[in-house]
């Protein structure tokens, strides 16, 4: 990658494995956002790996901004590969087929990089990275790793993203430097509710959950708000008593929140409230009426 020549020269002394903990200043800000569905797919792929396979790899699809500095990973698909002590084989044909198929559904999603499970980077990563770099020219390929073995200190599924830079005077494909780049999980409003639902199964021993009705959902939301209000009230009281030092940031936040509450004249509000209520009750009444009519029609049909 010519754009990063300066940076890579600077870090020549680091071997790929040791760079993992560093955040190397990039010549340009480079951000990666990942859609949760990608992480879920990777985990599913890992669960369905071959018996004797330690890790799995696959292609990441997504969109990037015009200058290539912001990448949004939206989708991915697995690619079968075979890895031994002294060689690695990736099913290229499969990769191409699958990409063609995905293109039919969503032509906007392009190859942006690849993923692998396991926290360690080894010499094969560099080779595969070389292949993907060629596929996404003139941009940089992203490499995303997920620590499915949970071997790290925090015992989390560490998601890390890297870009690569060539290393050495004569650029050999197996020599490259992986530079960590910041990575965020990002989702859309519609996905939010889905993720919330999945998260509700998080603490269940059976790992299952069922859909809840709108009413229950509302109750949950109100309870959460109540709890938050209590926490804030508790904190404010403590600050007033002097048992907790005041935090300006939090104070400013609270101020912001309170100023958002609209001030409405009482009579005005009464009017709005009542008209809304009437509208709603009317709609409900009419809807019930229609349903009753339908039910009667149904009975009549069966009687004839």
């Amino acid at each position: 990658m010519p754009i990063n020549a300066a940076t890579s020269a600077l870090n020549l002394s680091f071997s790929p494995a040791t760079t993992t903990g560093f955040v190397i200043p990039q010549s340009r800000s480079f951000t990666v956002t990942v859609n949760p569905v990608v992480l879920f797919s990777i985990l599913d792929h890992y669960l369905r790996r071959q018996e004797n396979q330690d890790r799995v790899i696959g292609t990441l699809l997504g969109v990037r901004s015009e200058d290539g500095s912001e990448v949004e990973v939206r989708n991915c698909f697995p690619v079968p590969h075979n890895e031994t002590q002294d060689q690695v084989a990736v099913d290229m044909e499969y990769h191409h087929n699958m990409f063609e198929l995905h293109k039919k559904v969503n032509p906007k999603e392009l190859i942006v990089g690849w993923y692998a499970t396991g926290a360690n980077l080894n010499q094969w990563n560099a080779l595969i990275q070389d292949f993907y770099s060629k596929a996404v020219l003139p941009f940089q390929a992203i490499h995303l790793t997920m620590d499915t073995a949970l071997k790290n200190d925090e015992k989390l599924l560490g998601v890390k993203t890297y870009v690569s830079a060539p290393i050495g005077i004569s650029g050999k494909p197996e020599n490259c430097l992986f530079l960590p780049v910041p990575c965020d999980v990002k989702y859309f409003n519609a996905e939010r509710s889905g993720l919330d639902l999945l998260a509700s199964a998080m603490n269940e021993p059976s790992r299952t959950t069922s859909l809840i009705s709108d009413m229950d959902n509302l109750e949950k939301a109100i309870l959460t708000v109540q709890e938050m209000l209590e926490r804030v009230a508790d904190y404010v009281n403590k600050v007033l008593e002097g048992s907790v030092p005041a935090n300006n940031t939090i104070g400013r936040f609270l101020m912001d929140t309170i100023s958002v509450v609209p001030k409405i004249d009482k009579a005005e509000f009464e009017k709005m409230f009542n008209s809304h209520l009437q509208d709603l009750l009317m709609v409900v009444y009419l809807a019930n009426m229609t349903r009753t009519q339908l039910a009667i029609a149904e009975r009549l049909q069966l009687l004839v």
Partner: protein, 360 residues
């Protein structure tokens, strides 16, 4: 659901007898479906596909297995959105075969168990859906469902996923292919028993549970949180449900309801027209018959051969009875809208009163 289970079983007594034996090993596939279990991945994939294509409706294939009455959906893939008709259909078929082949290679359950479709405010009951679902249920021995995902409702903070399949009586009528009064009577089919809804549960794998916990560990930093445009941290509490702009949803719903009622009115006038023309033809036939009888009587009196009476069917053609399928669908749809309004009204009333209390 309980009432339909014996109905499907009693169709073949043999299966009923050996039910206990095969309950553990569902070799024959005789145990009827009772619920649908979705993998977390499937839920997210469906949401992603439907959201990206919104407001167009899209569909896709569900893959999985059925195990003793529970349909486990473990993966899915989207169908390319349809552009033109004929060649596209061929394309989709090819795409499906290719995709299944590819997925088999990476150990995904490659057994189709149904399909999903996105919808807008619950307006999913279309002739197309009927056609596709009928095809699925016929091919896969009644063990196939259609999952309906309502994008517009999911943005209100509560995801809307529903699993449907046809009841045996609807399958029977659809098989005969005629939706006349008579056949509807015979199978006791009305709008409320066309579909049955199956309960949906959602299951996460262990690794996914670990991932969710990892996402939850993300601590928001105060400096970061000050910036309001920043992406939200995963799994912070969701307050979409407390949104107070209630009118657009109800408005849209009522609009759709009105449209349906109008369509229904049209169906009714169609039916009335048919009835009138049917009655007219009937009287014509009767008149003709009477005339023929008189003629024959007079011919008999004159000692001549009576004229044949069989050719009435050739002379008069009774107008065919219009299919009741459309009106069934429309009634079902109207019922659906009304239900939705009612469902929505409950929490909305609650919200209104909460706001009322807050203002005091």
């Amino acid at each position: 659901m309980a009432s339909t289970a014996p109905a499907t079983n009693s169709k073949d007594g043999l299966a009923n007898l050996s039910l206990n034996v095969t309950a553990a090993l569902d070799i024959e596939g005789t145990i009827p479906l009772e619920s649908v279990q979705l993998d977390g991945l499937v839920v997210l994939k469906i949401i992603k596909h439907c959201r990206e294509a919104f407001p167009a409706t899209v569909s896709g294939q569900l893959l999985g297995l059925d195990i003793s009455g529970v349909l486990e959906v473990t993966n899915c893939f989207p169908f390319p959105s349809s552009k033109s008709d004929d060649e596209n259909e061929l394309d989709v078929a090819k795409y499906q075969v290719e995709m299944m082949r590819c997925l088999r290679e990476i150990n995904v359950d490659h057994n189709p168990v149904g399909w999903y479709q996105s919808t807008y405010l619950g307006s999913f009951l279309t002739p197309n859906l009927i056609k596709t679902q009928y095809f699925y249920q016929q091919t896969f021995n009644n063990k196939s469902v259609v999952i309906i995902h309502d994008v517009s409702r999911s943005t209100h903070g509560n995801i809307s996923l529903r699993a449907f399949r046809f009841t045996p009586s609807f399958m029977e009528v659809q098989k005969e292919g005629k939706f006349t009064n008579e056949s509807l009577q015979k199978n006791k089919l009305t709008f409320s028993n066309m579909f049955e809804e199956l309960p949906i549960t959602i299951k996460n794998s262990h690794l996914v549970t670990a991932l969710l916990h990892s996402l939850n560990e993300y601590e928001p930093l105060p400096t970061k949180a000050l910036d309001k445009d920043k992406v939200e941290v995963p799994l912070t509490p969701n307050f979409d449900m407390l949104e107070l702009s209630l009118d657009p949803y109800i408005e849209k719903n009522l609009e759709l309801l009105l449209d349906s009622v109008e369509e229904f009115g049209q169906e009714q006038s169609n039916l009335a027209f048919w009835q009138r023309s049917y009655a007219r033809e009937q009287t014509k036939i009767q008149q003709y018959m009477q005339k023929r009888k008189q003629e024959n009587q007079s011919r008999q009196a004159a000692g001549l051969e009576p004229l044949p009476e069989e050719d009435i069917n050739k002379l008069f053609k009774l107008p065919p009875e219009p299919s009741k399928l459309d009106s069934l669908l429309i009634t079902s749809q109207i019922n659906n809208y009304c239900k939705q309004l009612n469902q929505y009204a409950g929490p909305t009333l609650g919200k209104l009163f909460v706001v009322g209390e807050l203002q005091k």
